[in-house]
């Protein structure tokens, strides 16, 4: 009986989790909660115990919390074999082994891919190696950047103004640092929230003294040694010809999914991550679902019923937690006990004294309507619509209302929603939301719709050179 096989697996099987961050940790806890008593190995390329990333761009950079103090609480004893500081470099599906950078091979009966993403590095490796040039993804990144900000640089240049870039700009202003933000699009946050909200975000930055430059890219960085090619970064050249004197440069160019180690494994991997079904089971390269390999967190992309069954990559905190829990549950269950991971996406950001919270997939919409409050006072709610239904919502200092919008999104309620009984915005006419063409690589949004077919939209800017 299959039930006996599952019971035997729960008693003495082997599970390997690749990725020791939020998704990996929560998956491990869920496996134990679900009664998995077999051998559990957790592999992570960073040397740290699992830690929380959202504070890195906020409390840590501000200097409120040391970078190594964001360790995630562990909800229970895990009795796991932790392999930290050693990356997985290959997956052998035939022999069911994960290959490690130190040459070790770890066998598994079932495995979970939770390798997440990494920061996209500055495109020019020589310039990227200049002192004072940073990215922000890991706790070590945050420690280095915090030290650099704490040293009181003359001017900080942030390249890219997605959520992380904007949060860093906000912190710089709070620390009293001069900061320039260079954004290729017309405004900050346009990838995730569109141009209408982007304009508000731009005004917020300027009101707080950020030197925001839109429609420009940064073409080159110069150091203070060997004719500018080495030493400490001191100047940046923008695409409009401007030269800026800078002491710190942060490349905030979005993230790259960690899938290179799966090359040759025959799984459906690509720019947008590892494709899986709504039960977190990985697809192979032909689109056939696998039995023993599961995916969770930032690196997963799965079809979502609310969004025309398009594959969604969700780089959100709760997607990592909930996806990991579902994946772990399904790893040790019979087919009929499996559950789907169909999250209502939600996200938050804190910047310039404003608490931004959202729900749904805003970038799936093409129209937006301000539904409550006042954009001028930066306390409002806005809903996104497509084809006459509501698909997402964002709030600025209005997060208590998200429940209302979330419930409407869950049932694909009509767009625009009915007017509120009070605190109505001056203008409640839906207007185009102004999302950039998804093929234009501006600040990569946290939520990406990657199309039914991996080649449909994603393949066009698959960065071959980085593989």
């Amino acid at each position: 009986m299959i039930a006996d096989i599952v019971d035997a697996f729960k008693a003495e099987g082997r599970i390997v989790i690749v990725g020791a961050s939020l998704a990996g940790l929560r998956a491990a806890e869920t496996l134990r909660d679900e009664g998995f008593n077999g051998r559990l190995t957790i592999i992570g390329d960073e040397r740290h115990q699992p830690y929380d990333r959202p504070p890195l761009s906020k409390q840590v950079l501000k200097g409120w919390v040391p970078a190594d103090h964001t360790e995630l609480p562990q909800m229970r004893e895990l009795d796991a074999d932790w392999r930290l500081g050693v990356a997985a470099v290959g997956l052998d599906r035939v022999n069911m082994e994960v290959h490690l950078a130190d040459g070790d091979k770890v066998p598994f009966g079932r495995m979970l891919i939770a390798t997440g993403t990494r920061a996209r590095q500055w495109f020019n490796p020589k310039e990227a190696a200049l002192q004072g040039v940073f990215t922000l993804r890991t706790s070590d990144d945050a420690a280095r950047l915090q030290a650099a900000l704490n040293a009181g640089p003359g001017r900080v240049l942030i390249v890219g103004s997605g959520f992380i870039g904007s949060e860093m700009a906000s912190v710089c202003r709070e620390l009293g640092l001069a900061v320039t933000v260079a954004e290729r699009a017309d405004a900050p946050l346009v990838g995730a929230l569109g141009g209408v909200i982007g304009e508000i975000a731009a005004q917020m930055q300027r009101d707080h003294g950020v030197d925001l430059r839109t429609g420009v890219s940064v073409e080159a960085l110069e150091g203070d040694l060997e004719g500018g090619s080495s030493g400490h970064v001191r100047r940046a050249r923008l695409s409009d010809g401007t030269m800026l004197d800078v002491d710190v440069v942060v490349a905030s160019l979005g993230s790259i999914r960690n899938i290179e180690w799966l090359e040759g494994s025959g799984l459906a991997t690509g720019f947008w991550g590892v494709a899986c079904d709504a039960g977190c089971r990985a697809f192979d390269i032909n689109g056939v679902v696998t039995d023993n390999i599961f995916v969770a967190g930032d690196v997963a992309r799965a079809p979502h019923v609310l969004y025309d069954y398009e594959f969604l990559s969700l780089e959100h905190w709760d997607n990592a937690v909930l996806g990991a829990q579902v994946a772990a549950h399904n790893m040790v269950r019979l087919e009929t006990d499996r559950v789907p991971h169909l999250p209502l996406p939600s996200f938050w950001s804190g910047q310039f004294g404003v608490n931004i919270k959202g729900v749904g997939v805003c970038s799936f919409g093409d129209e937006i309507v301000i539904t409550q409050g006042s954009t001028k006072e930066r306390r409002f709610a806005a809903a996104y619509g497509r084809d006459g239904r509501i698909v997402g919502a964002v709030t600025f200092n209005h997060g208590k209302w998200l429940e209302y919008y979330g419930a409407m999104i869950e049932r694909s309620a009509p767009f625009p929603p009915p007017p509120p009984g009070y605190d109505r915005p001056a203008d409640m006419t839906p207007i185009p939301a102004r999302f950039p063409d998804p093929r234009v690589p501006t600040g990569t949004p946290d939520v990406v719709l990657t199309g039914h077919d991996p080649t449909q939209r994603g393949a066009e800017f698959r960065p071959r050179e980085e593989r």
Binding site: Q372, G373, K400, L402, Y404, P420, G421
Partner: protein, 409 residues
């Protein structure tokens, strides 16, 4: 039983100790019409939705139940809508919690512990073996704390205690309100309400002239982004904060002791494992919500929900205490389970009007209960159910007599 009858029964004083069977009856229609222009919400999911629906107004002047005397003039936070609500709540929070005043609540801890111990010391000094949890323990603590935070002279307590008591007893939304006795209570309540309002008006006027310690004075002299609060609005909010700080916390402390003693083994369990106290308090709050509902809400538009259309202009009562026992969300909803997980109850409200004083109340109740658990030996309920106070909204025992072996040091 029709919804009308179930609601009338739930509101009757004789059922105050246990209105829950009538709420269960009502929940067959989670959103039910119970009277002309009056709808009550007893289902969890329906309540959650309506507590976050911007077509539900809390502005008392829009409610069809509003007697003329309450319309017009500045309103307190709980009876107003955004943007006024948001602005007033920000103005109050600046002097009450983080980020601007992170220390106000934590700084109360030593005072609360001292008060709790002092009350038990007093009972011990008289060798008492029978105490009233309400009068001898629960009541004095929150009152002293809220007076200190607001800057209200604690020596005025005897007078405003009586006013608040009579005022709340006069607000009867059930069939008892129409009786001759109910009329007498209503008249007395109105007189008390006027007296309380006059007292607070004078207090605020004094703070306008002479800035003093405490939140009320700070409200009037604030130079924050929202500016100072107008004296009229400060009076309305002073009333809200004084009553809420006075009443609900007292009921919660009492409800905690009562619930532990009703459920054999739980007193000892929490004594052994004090880390379970915060969760146990939430579970009591679910079972015995001290604010059962707040009757200022109304629909600004026709709202379709759970097969019912609430017509625009109807009063809408979100009955927290009923939704908190919805079996669709809480397994064995009538059972006290101090280890209940995912206990997302409505005991502190839901949405933008969620209890502003919750963090202070939690601190007070935790410390009071910890002290009580540690020092009171073998407590037993004398009368169960205990006598209740009149109000359906602010529901709680008038007295809670317990017999004890002794009070430890």
């Amino acid at each position: 039983m029709t919804p009308e009858t179930a609601w009338a029964n739930a509101m009757k004083f004789e059922n105050r100790a246990d209105p829950y069977p009538f709420f269960d009856e009502l929940r067959r229609t989670p959103v039910a019409k119970v009277a002309e222009k009056t709808y009550v919400v007893t289902g969890y999911r329906e309540l959650l939705a309506l507590a976050h629906d911007p077509r539900i107004s809390s502005d008392i002047s829009r409610s069809p139940l509003t007697p003329d005397r309450e319309a017009g003039g500045p309103q307190s936070i709980i009876m107003s809508d955004p943007p006024d609500h948001d602005r007033a709540r920000r103005q109050v929070m600046r002097h009450f919690g983080p980020p601007h005043s992170p220390d106000v609540i934590p700084d109360m801890e030593p005072t609360v512990v001292r008060l709790c111990n002092g009350l038990l010391d007093k009972a011990k000094a008289y060798d008492k073996t029978r105490i009233d949890v309400v009068d001898d323990f629960a009541y004095p603590v929150p009152v002293a704390v809220i007076c200190s935070i607001l800057g209200v002279p604690v020596e005025d307590e005897p007078s405003f205690h009586d006013w608040i008591f009579d005022f709340l007893a006069g607000e009867d939304l059930g069939p008892d309100g129409a009786t001759a006795e109910g009329q007498v209570r209503a008249e007395k309540g109105e007189v008390a309400g006027v007296a309380l309002n006059q007292y607070l008006t004078d207090l605020i006027a004094r703070f306008v002239r002479e800035p003093g310690e405490g939140l009320l004075s700070k409200l009037l002299h604030d130079d924050g982004p929202d500016g100072p609060m107008s004296p009229g609005e400060a009076v309305a909010n002073a009333g809200l904060l004084l009553v809420a700080g006075h009443d609900s916390t007292v009921n919660t402390i009492t409800n905690c002791v009562m619930t532990l003693l009703r459920n054999p083994g739980s007193f000892d369990l929490l004594r052994r494992r004090p880390e379970l106290i915060p969760g146990a308090i939430e579970e009591v709050q679910r079972l015995q919500s001290p604010v059962q509902f707040f009757p200022s809400r109304s629909a600004t538009d026709d709202i379709e929900i759970a097969g019912t259309t609430i017509p625009a202009g109807s009063a809408v009562h979100l009955v927290y205490s009923a939704a908190n026992r919805d079996p669709a969300v809480f397994a064995h909803p009538n059972r006290f389970n101090p280890k209940r997980s995912d206990n997302e109850h409505f005991g502190w409200g839901s949405g933008i009007h969620t209890c502003l004083g919750g963090p202070l109340a939690r601190l007070e109740v935790n410390l009071a209960l910890e002290t009580f658990l540690r020092r009171v030996e073998n407590p037993q309920l004398v009368v169960d159910p205990p006598p209740y106070r009149q109000s359906q909204i602010f529901r709680g025992p008038r007295h809670l007599l317990i017999d004890i072996d002794r009070i430890n040091d």
